[in-house]
């Protein structure tokens, strides 16, 4: 099991540069083709956020160290806890303003302005973990996430990593 790829910094402090270089040099799963979905016009589209910041609501199950599942985040519910196991990214930004990771208020403003059709009732949070084969994300939790979002009428997903 490999934890989040940004977890091996070689020099500096939090050292984004070395974390990025390390992650970029790791083997990555192969995707021979790239699918392309065609959403309705943005002004009619329902938008959800999927983050890998290991966020969860108070009282929801914590993320385990190698958790490949997801937690549901309800739109507008701000009791967001950061449960990530990696110490290798800035957390103070989230502490100051969760929208810098999960922009639920920005999406609501865009919906109110008519820029997007609507905000999904539920967003999802993973923890950035994947085993080398990424089997569980590809065959288990990833498709389950897709099914949940499709069930909510979601057209567009904004993915936000940390």
């Amino acid at each position: 099991m490999a934890v989040a790829a940004a977890d091996a910094c070689q020099d500096g402090r939090v050292s984004d540069e070395s974390a990025r270089a390390y992650a970029a040099a790791l083997p990555v799963p192969e995707f021979e083709t790239t699918a392309m979905a065609t959403p309705p016009p943005l002004s009619q589209a329902r938008v959800a956020i999927v983050t890998t910041a290991a966020l969860h609501h108070v009282g929801d199950q914590d993320f385990t160290f190698d958790d490949t599942g997801f937690r549901v985040i309800e739109q507008g519910r701000t009791d967001l806890v950061l449960g990530h196991w990696s110490p290798n990214f800035d957390r103070a930004g989230f502490a100051a303003d969760p929208n810098v990771v999960l922009p639920m208020h920005r999406l609501q403003e865009l919906a109110d302005a008519g820029t997007i059709g609507s905000v999904a009732p539920r967003h999802l949070s993973f923890a950035g973990n994947q085993e080398d084969t990424v089997t569980r994300i590809r065959l288990d939790s990833g498709p389950a996430a897709g099914e949940l979002l499709k069930g909510d009428g979601v057209d567009v997903v904004v993915l936000t990593p940390v």
Partner: protein
């Protein structure tokens, strides 16, 4: 993140990834990617800056107009991680009978509570609650002094304990500082505070004591020694 983009797009959802690592995105070619060279942990760029966050989202949604995928575009603004410690005054010593780190953790409670009141929630609580932080710091003091890490009675695994202490300090720092540049709170915690320095000292002791690698390594940023 790129794997999820592929999986969700294949399920019929149009995805836009705010990628933080251009090299990975180049190799994994998710359908639509906006690379923001921002401090890791801040995919929307700048906290408490709705205008900037909207700019990121506007550029992201514009990728839906591209006629084909994959597409990878750079956000034009680069935000470097800060190497300097957050400018954040620490409280003076209050109870000289306590170890400095424990005294400091107690004194930061008022600032922590101000952030808690504003946010309504804290990310402290994986191993202990805010009330337990000074005692937890006291246990780290003992480990740093040479006591066995697995005999002092930590309230949880060492990674979760470290998470709670750092989060407590950083949430307090948010109330004490005007703005928090990316990475600066971690530098402040690790280099400036008694609590952070004690945590790093305890981590070094745990390595010496041959604690399991993950237990000590993930207590702090990988580059910390």
């Amino acid at each position: 993140m790129c794997v999820l983009a592929h999986v969700l797009e294949a399920a019929g959802l149009a995805t836009i990834a705010l990628v933080s690592n251009r090299g990975v995105a180049e190799r994994m070619h998710p359908p639509r990617a906006l690379f923001g060279e921002f401090p890791l942990g801040r995919p929307l760029g700048i906290p408490n800056d709705p205008e900037f966050q909207h700019d990121v989202l506007r550029r992201a949604f514009a990728l839906l107009d591209e006629p084909s995928v994959p597409v990878l575009v750079d956000h034009p603004v680069v935000i470097e991680i800060e190497e300097e410690a957050l400018a954040c005054a620490l409280p003076p010593r209050f109870d000289a009978s306590l170890p400095p780190a424990v005294d400091e953790a107690r004194a930061l409670r008022a600032a922590f509570d101000r952030t808690l009141e504003k946010r309504g929630v804290t990310s402290v609580g994986r191993a202990t609650d805010p009330d337990g932080i000074p005692d937890l710091v006291g246990l780290l003091v003992r480990i740093a002094a040479g006591e066995k890490w697995d005999e002092v009675g930590l309230p949880g695994d060492p990674i979760s304990c470290a998470h709670d202490v750092r989060t407590y300090y950083e949430e307090a720092a948010v109330a004490l500082a005007g703005g928090v540049g990316g990475g600066s709170a971690e530098v402040w915690f690790s280099d400036v505070t008694e609590g952070g320095r004690t945590l790093l000292s305890a981590r070094r002791q745990m390595k010496e004591q041959e604690a399991p690698f993950a237990f000590w390594f993930y207590m702090a940023a990988g580059a910390r020694s």
